[in-house]
Symmetry: C2
Subunit: 272 residues, 2 copies
């Protein structure tokens, strides 16, 4: 979905001479060609890397490092490898290390756009437009490669922010991984017979619980420490409501809800 969307966006904006996709499965390759998300597709990474200037790793978090190492080995000088993974600490540390003695550079990226629908059929060329995109910078990051990756995401219309992998993992645990834990927890808590009475509120609050369980188990594990920290913050906030409710403290409940609402409202209006 995200790889296909980036392919469509690059082609729409004419940012590359050729968009080449590498796939595990021939069926996905065919779908991507049909969708015109790529100009050419391969099943062997070596074929796909030949002459590539920019390599975007759009695989599940758990395979980015191994595929990235492979890609670094088969890529020439001047080429840049980036990824779109939802965690950055481990990926950046491993691929910084792997690229140290090789001609290609690695810069981590995370376009904050996605969907619970995880397949090239759902790709769209506007996916990253106006979306936040975090690009990570470490002591080892090549400065020119960093500038080119920032320029690349800006060319696709994303709002780019550069930070360290740790800053990324902390923020993203809060705004993305935590909502997934909570949504899965919520969908898991409600007996199916009661769902018959669910309306839009339940549907929206649990939307991301329809995401791919394997992808998200990977992400939670790759960012375990920060996900657990974010969950602790959530529990404190959630328990404030329950404590005020147990005491039948109307004013106390309203205070907690008002703070949460006004923060969210400012965020929504800030985005326009």
């Amino acid at each position: 979905m995200i790889g296909g969307s980036i392919g469509l966006a690059i082609k729409k904006r004419g940012l590359a001479g050729e968009v080449v996709g590498v796939f595990r499965r021939r069926a996905t390759l065919k779908k991507a060609l049909k969708r015109r998300a790529i100009d050419k597709g391969f099943l062997d990474i070596k074929d796909g890397l030949r002459g590539a200037d920019l390599i975007i790793l759009a695989t599940p978090v758990s395979s980015i490092v191994s595929i990235g190492r492979d890609a670094l080995k088969h890529t020439g000088p001047g080429a840049i490898i980036t990824d779109v993974g939802s965690t950055k600490g481990w990926i950046a540390a491993e691929l910084d290390k792997a690229s140290a003695k090789l001609p290609a550079a690695f810069v981590g990226s995370h376009p904050m756009a996605g969907s619970e629908r995880n397949s090239v059929e759902f790709a769209r060329d506007t996916l990253v437009e106006e979306a936040p995109c975090i690009v990570t910078k470490t002591r080892d990051t090549d400065r020119k490669a960093l500038a080119r990756i920032v320029y690349f995401w800006k060319s696709l219309g994303a709002k780019v922010k550069v930070m360290t992998p740790l800053e990324h993992d902390r923020s993203v645990a809060l705004v993305s991984h935590l909502p997934h834990v909570v949504a899965f927890g919520l969908a898991g808590a409600v007996p199916e017979k009661d769902m018959a009475y669910a309306a839009e509120g339940f549907k929206d609050t649990t939307r991301v619980a329809s995401s791919d369980p394997h992808l998200w188990a990977d992400i939670f594990l790759a960012n375990k420490k920060e996900v657990i920290n974010a969950c602790r913050r959530f529990e404190l906030s959630y328990k404030k409501i329950l404590k005020a409710l147990a005491k039948e403290d109307y004013r106390g409940i309203v205070d907690v809800l008002e703070k949460a609402k006004s923060k969210r409202d400012r965020f929504i209006h800030g985005r326009g």
Copy 2:
């Protein structure tokens, strides 16, 4: 919002000779007239009740009982009073009692449709179409009045289910009140500076945290016991994910997420 939407729907379907609104504020009355959600509006409940066959109480939960008592006193034989409140136990008990020696009948309703946007400007005539609508039945409920209320909501296109107030409060705590507690808790937990990196997942998961804090403090308090029970169920489900994560148990995490996802997916597809 909900009162106005019902007014618009009744008028669109020609279900009443006249739709009369009663308001606390003249400004809202004017907006409702302008929006054509009502034919006539009053600020005094006695004026609004004159000759009414069906009275729908669309006020915050905390004032439904007092306004309902008032309405019962000023309503003649054959008239039916219903409400659209998000909790039913306390409301039904009090209004059953109040109607016992009066000519008008009370039947509790809860159309499960709404929005975080709480004003007549957001009213729409399709709000309750296809929405679940719970109608409550107690030992004291007049059977003919019950049948008329069921017929009324079906005429607006709602999917009606009759149950006891307690069954209502239990189910709705799970599918509506709990998601609100969780969404407010989540919006409250995330520091504003991190929200800059939030994408659609966060936006959807917290949407209902933009709801009115006073309305929701009322609802939580009116359904305290069931809300707390629903929260306990949520905590068990949420903690299963965290425990598997702490143990770095990939299979365990996937299992919990898969159960939650498949339940939600069946619910979404079941709705078509």
